[in-house]
Structures are given as C-alpha cells and as structure tokens.
Amino acid sequence: MSTVLEARGLVRRYPGDGSPIRAVDGVDLAVEAGEAVSVMGPSGCGKSTLLHLLGGLERPDAGELSLGGVRVDRFSETRWAVFRRRGVGFVFQAFHLVDELTAVENVELPALLVGVSRRAARSRAMELLERLGVAGRAGHLPHHLSGGEQQRVAVARALVNEPMVILADEPTGNLDSRATGDILRLFGELGQAGQALLTMTHDARVASTADRLLTMRDGAIVAQTRLGAGTSVAGLLASLADLGGER
C-alpha cells in the first residue's frame, strides 16, 4: 500500500504570554491509501492546527510533509493552491461553502479550477450530489440548506477531483444527531470505497468508524491503535447487562 500522506516532526508555534505556545509539537503521522484514520483529543489539543498544517492552510515552523510522495512543506501559497486541487479535499465543521454560489456551483468549483470543461464539471458535480442524496437541492444557495445538507454538499465538493486524501475537521460538530448519522454512514462508505480519510474529532461515534485511532494531547500524538472488529455479539449483549444480573 502506498503512503498517501506522511508527516515527520511537524511543529507549529504561536506567540503566547511569555514563552511561545507549541500548538503542534513534533507530530509524526502517516496515512495509507484507502485508510480511514481518526485523531481524537480534548479541545485545545492542537487537532485543528495539525489539520491546517497537513492541508497547507498553515505553514509548519519545522518538520517535513509529503503528499503522494511530493514534499509540500516548502510550497508557496500559489503552488499549494494548485496542488490542493487534486491533492486534498477539505470538510470543515462550519461547512464553509461559498455563500454566493449554489450547491452545484460549489461542488463543481474545484473541477473548474483544475481545467475540466464546464459541461464535464457540471455533470460530475451532479453525479456526486446524486450519490450523496442532495441532488434535489442542487440549485439552492447554501443558506437555504439544512446543516446536514450543507455538509453533504461539502463532502461532494471534497470528492469532485478524487483527491489523494480527505481532511475532515469535526465534520459532525455542527450537526444534529440525525445528520450526524448520515455523515457517519457516508464516511463509512467512503472508507469502504478506498478513499483515504483523516478526521479530527472529539465525537466517539465518528472516531470509532476509523481503521486506526490516534490520540492527541498538548500538541503531540500520545497513542495509536488499530480498532479492528469489535467483540462478539454475546459480549455486546453482556455490555448492555440489563438482564437482571444473569449472564
């Protein structure tokens, strides 16, 4: 399996009162093609900053980063922007759709940026919206869509250029439980379809869908485990344990 994303010794500092704060403090991380990885940690542990670094939205103060085998940590803004079109798909907690564009215009945008023809971009965008169950809302502006619909449009946008990896930052943070369930299902399907996925979350439900779980604290990765299959169903019933004490 090829390594889609590799980070070594990433560091990001911010000036604080007194000594600078290390938001990301020497992180090593790798994601294989088709792998779903979750990073869990309390708020303020640096998950969002790490995600920004991995996607080029912020520059590391030290360390190396490669995407698809290409060293990207020294890229200029412009080079990053061009690379990001096919390299990375973002899904944000706040959805971040361009509020002046309709759903389908939002989704086709990365394709148009890459140079795909208008027609091809539009049809690919509609295809994705169809797949994600929001094709009926294609011509609507974001503020006419519910949170769950907006996030699905955002996922479609992230997928349109078939990126190497999707970076998701608290994708369910702004959603009610029903919409969360939809996104969970969606991410599960993506994982099974072979899309590399890196999700920052503090929601246990989202984290538990991953193949590999990383725990982050104070800017560093402190634990890494494969989740694998769960215990037997009998054990499941036992964990419910409401059977009058009888096992």
Binding site: T49, L57, E77, T78, A81, Q93, H96, V98, L141, R157
Partner: protein
C-alpha cells in the same frame, strides 16, 4: 423609556470599545461641518467692527445721496429741485440731527502707475452732528490746505499724514487719514474718496474737477425705525425716467450689509463647498455606518440575553451615530469660530479687527442639520434591513444572504469569461443590495470629481473681466479677492478629489473585509491568491461601472443647480468626461487591488476557524 437609558449606556460602551470607525466617521463629518462652521462664522464677522466704527463716527441712520454723471450737466434744474427736497427732509418728523448736505466733486487721483476715479467731498472743518470721520493719522480738515484721505485709499496708496498725493495731476499734501461708515472702503468700494475744505475745492474746480452730486445724512430719534422713515419718504427719489440723475436713500443697516461684500463672497463660496462636501460625506458615512452596524449586530448575542429586540438594537446604533453627529457639529462650529477671525482679517473692507458673531440658534441648527442629515441618510438602508428581520439570529449571521440565483449567472460562464471573472460577476449580481450601496457611494464620488472639474473650468471665468480704464488700483484689489476665491475653489476641488479617493478606499476596504471568508474558502479548494484578487476586483468593478454611468450625469446636474444665474454657463468638455469615464474604473481597480492583495497575503486558517 427605561430602555432609552439602557440604549444610551450601551451606545457609550460601544463607542469606547471600538473607537476606530467612529473616529473616522467623526473626521469625515467634521470636514463638512468645519467648512460650514467657518462659513457661518464669517457671515457677519465684519458686523461688529462696522458697528463700532458707526458708533465712533456718529454714523448716519438715513443717507440721501444724489448723483449725476459729471459729463452731463444738463439736469441742473432737477438737481436744484432735489437739493430743495433734501432741505425739506431735514425738517421731517423724527429727524434729530443733520449732516450736510455736502457736495461731491469728480476727478482723478494717481495710484501706482495709473489714475483712478476720485470723489472729493467738500466740508467745512466741522464738527458735524452726523458722520464725524474718525481720524486715524494726522489731523482733520482745518486751516491750511491739504486733503484728508479715506482710510482704504490711504492703505492702498500706502501713504499717511505728511505724504503727498497727486490729484488732477497736481501734488497735494495729505493732512490726515480718516475712517467713515458713510461709504464702503476703497478699493472694493469705488470711487476713491477724499475730504477737502471749500478753499481746496475751489482749487480743484480750477484744475478741472466737476460737480457730480451731494450727500445728506440724518440721525433719527429711533434708529431702529430707519426703514420706515425711508419708506415714508420714498417720493423723494422720484425722477423722470429719461433723466440720468440718480437719487438714492438708504438706511444704516443696508449700508452695513453691503459694506463687506468680499467676506460675503468668501463665506458664500465656503457655504457652497460645505454643502458639496456634505453630500459626498453621505456616501462615505453610509459605508462606514453600515460596516459598523454589521460588526456590532454580530455581537448582539449578549444583548439578546438581556431581552433586547432588534428595534432596540437599531435604536442603540442610532444613538451612537447621532452622538457622533453632535460631536462633529460642536467641533465644526468650534473650528469655524477659530478660523473665521484670521480669514476675515484678510479682507480689504473690514473696519478694524474682525469678531465672529455670537452663536445663534439658527447657525447651530443649520450646521447640526447637515451633520444629522448625513447620519440619518447613512443609517436608513441598514436600519430598514435590520428592522425587517424578525429574529436576532438572522441578524447575527453577517451580511444579508445572496438572493436566489438567476440564469444570468450561467450566462457569464457561457460567455467564456475566465473563472475568477465569473466568480466576481456572480458575487456582484447575487448581492444586489450591497452592489447598490457600493455603487451609490462611488457614484457620489464620481459626481464630486465631475463638480471638481467644473469648478476648475469655472476659474477661467474669473480671468475674463477686461480691465477698465481709471480703475487700475481697484482692479488690482479685486484681483486679490479673486485670487482668494480662486484659492478656495481650487482647494475645494482638491478636497473633493481627496475625499472621493478616500471614499473609494473605504468602499474597497469594506468590500475586501466582507469577502474575506469566501476568499478563504476559495483558496482552501485550490484557487490561487491571484485568482481571488481578480475575482474581488471584478466584483467591485461592476459597482464602479454603475457608479460612472450614474455619477457623471449626477455631477453635471449638481453643478447645474449650483451655478449662479448671471454667470455664463460652464460646460465640462465631453473629452474630459470620456477621459473620466475611462480613468475612474482603472483608478478604482488599482485602489481595490491594495486591500485585495493584503487580504490574499493573510493566512487562510484563522478565517476558516469555527466561530
């Protein structure tokens, strides 16, 4: 009424916390109120010195002057009749003292390299019950020859007692210099005047000076009723229409109001300038106010907890802005009083030290009205939008959402315009409210540039007056006045250009700020910084095109309103307008590119953080 007090306290708190934009608004308003304040203070700042001189010289309450052209002595009978009428007047009821009648002789005096018309008033040495000129140098008429010069004439000739002047080609010693209010000050008031004794008059007649009329001055028991007296004796001014004799009766108030025409002209010009600047300020203020409101409405969450409704939020913001308007009024009036005296002192007509008149309610109200009007006009649109929205949550979500997309969005794409251009055009088209606000602001700026061009063209008018023979010196003095006015006009035109640029800068900066989040999203999905800059410039150029199309006719219309009726029309040349129409979008694109580029240089991540 309880929440009014709360509103005031909240407004005060807001102003203290984010003073930057408030200060900018205050500054913009103060430019308009300052100019108006100076104009207001100039009007009438010559009155007090005139009053002082009037009291000191026992100035007239009613003046009766008869003038006949010196080259036409044919109306001698009529003039004699008028003299009789004048002596009848001296016995009219209400008259308590009389000065004159004094004869006037017409001749010439040498000034600089040329000659100037001269009136010699013939008087016995006095003293007089009415119009006792105040001697400022030397002595009054008396034994021995010599002439007493009117103070303005002396100042123009730069002579004093003991010097010599050349009248009718002959040198005469200057006995003294004196001030009077019976006549305006030379050189703005023509002709020049000297006083002479009857003996000197005989000399002057021998040298060729001729009769041109006489003057009678009266004191009334009730000076305030001078107008009634004149009205009652209007018949004295009746002469056959074919005659060239001019009898003229005037009150002291009339004379005073005509005695300082140069200050009046300067004040009038400043007043018009202040109005223009006020209009432009509406544009700038509305952008500043809208931006300030949007920023504050987003923080409305805490207010909501106290149970405040959207209407009350609007009230708080209105209170804040009215407070700023009040501040601008006070500062403007203050500036007016400070600057009025030095400006008035440059006048050639003033009798003594100028003194700004006391602040009347009218003056304060006029200046305040302009400031409040600007603020209210700037507040209308955002306030209407705020009151129409029913929930605070929708208020808090930022700029108004784009309207439903039409098919025009697709048209642009189909036309083959590159992607950043398409994005920019969509951005402009789908937020019509903001497009209109920006276009209005810019249109006013363009209108002001058109007016500035017209003002500059109008300066040529001031050069067109042909020099008149016999008026060399006074023409020179008038030229100085015209230079002053020219300076004011040029200064106003320049100020308008500067303000239009500042206005464009503010519009551009707010546009960049509004677009910040969308720009960040674009960059996150792979648009290069250059592409986002182009998109922003294109979206702003849409507003700019509308502004040029509306602003040029608007500016021409405003200039048409402002033109004085008797001045020849000033047409801004079509070439200038075409150049303007081409140059403004280019200049605006350059202006927008600065905040756009700064924005593109900012890191993306903070803009995308979850709020």
């Amino acid at each position: 009424m309880r929440w009014l007090g709360l509103a005031v306290r909240l407004a005060a708190g807001n102003l203290r916390r984010r003073p930057g934009q408030a200060l900018l608004l205050l500054l913009t308003l103060t430019i308009a109120t300052g100019v108006l304040g100076v104009a207001m203070s100039l009007y009438g700042s010559a009155d007090e010195p005139w009053n002082r001189a009037w009291r000191a010289t026992k100035g007239f309450h009613v003046n009766f002057t008869v003038y006949h052209p010196p080259d036409e002595p044919g109306d001698r009978a009529l003039v004699a009749a008028l003299r009789r009428r004048a002596s009848q007047l001296t016995g009219a009821s209400g008259v308590v003292a009389v000065g004159g009648p004094w004869s006037h002789l017409y001749g010439s005096i040498q000034i600089g390299g040329g000659t100037e018309d001269l009136t010699a008033e013939v008087r016995d040495p006095g003293p007089y019950q009415v119009d006792q000129p105040l001697v400022t140098s030397g002595r009054w008429l008396g034994q021995g020859g010599g002439v007493v010069l009117e103070s303005g004439l002396a100042a123009t000739l730069r002579v004093g007692a003991g010097d010599t002047v050349t009248v009718q080609g002959r040198p005469f010693p200057v006995r003294g210099v004196a001030q009077t209010v019976s006549r305006g000050r030379f050189p703005l008031s023509r002709p020049a005047q000297v006083w002479v004794t009857p003996e000197t008059a005989r000399q002057l007649r021998g040298l060729g000076m001729t009769e041109e009329g006489f003057e009678l001055q009266l004191h009334l028991a009730d000076p305030a009723r001078a107008a009634d007296f004149v009205a009652a004796h209007r018949s004295l001014e009746a002469v056959p229409s074919s005659s060239s004799v001019v009898p003229y009766m005037e009150t002291w108030q009339q004379r005073r109001s005509e005695s300082h025409s140069d200050i009046d002209i300067v004040a009038g010009t400043l007043f018009a300038a202040g109005d223009l600047i006020g209009i432009l300020t509406v544009a700038t203020a509305s952008v500043l106010i809208a931006g300030r409101m949007a920023a504050q409405i987003r923080q409305v969450g805490t207010l909501k907890a106290v149970g405040v409704t959207p209407r009350q939020v609007m009230l708080v913001l209105l209170v804040e802005h009215l407070a700023i308007a009040a501040g601008a009024t006070a500062v403007g009036l203050g500036i007016g009083r400070l600057l009025a005296a030095p400006i008035a002192a440059t006048s050639v007509t003033i009798l003594g030290r100028p003194q700004p008149p006391p602040l009347t309610v009218t003056r304060v109200v006029i200046v305040a009205a302009v400031a409040v009007a600007v603020v209210l006009l700037g507040t209308v649109r955002p306030a209407l939008r705020g009151i129409r929205q029913s929930t605070l949550r929708s208020l808090a979500s930022g700029p108004p959402p784009p309207r439903r997309p039409g098919r025009l969005g697709g048209l642009a794409a189909r036309a083959g315009i590159p992607l950043p251009g398409v994005l920019g055009l969509r951005s402009a088209w789908r937020r019509p409210g903001r497009l209109l606000t920006n276009a209005t602001g810019l249109a006013l700026g363009v209108a002001m540039i058109v007016v500035a061009l017209a003002l500059r063209d109008s300066l040529d008018l001031l050069d067109l007056r042909p020099p008149e023979p016999g008026h060399a010196a006074s023409d020179a003095a008038v030229a100085i006045l015209y230079d002053q006015i020219r300076a004011i006009i040029l200064g106003t035109a320049g100020l308008l250009l500067v303000l239009a640029t500042v206005n464009a800068w503010i519009v551009a900066t707010f546009a960049a700020r509004d677009a910040a989040r969308n720009q960040a999203v674009l960059r996150a999905v792979g648009a290069t910084p250059r592409q986002t800059v182009i998109a922003l410039i294109v979206s702003q150029l849409a507003a700019c095109m509308i502004a040029v199309a509306v602003g040029i006719p608007l500016g021409l219309g405003l200039w048409g309103l402002m033109e004085a009726g008797d001045l020849p029309e000033v047409r801004v040349s079509a070439t200038s307008l075409v150049v303007l129409a081409a140059a403004v979008p280019v200049a605006f694109a350059v202006i927008v590119s600065v905040p756009a580029r700064l924005l593109a240089r900012q890191p993306v991540a903070p803009l995308l953080a979850y709020e």
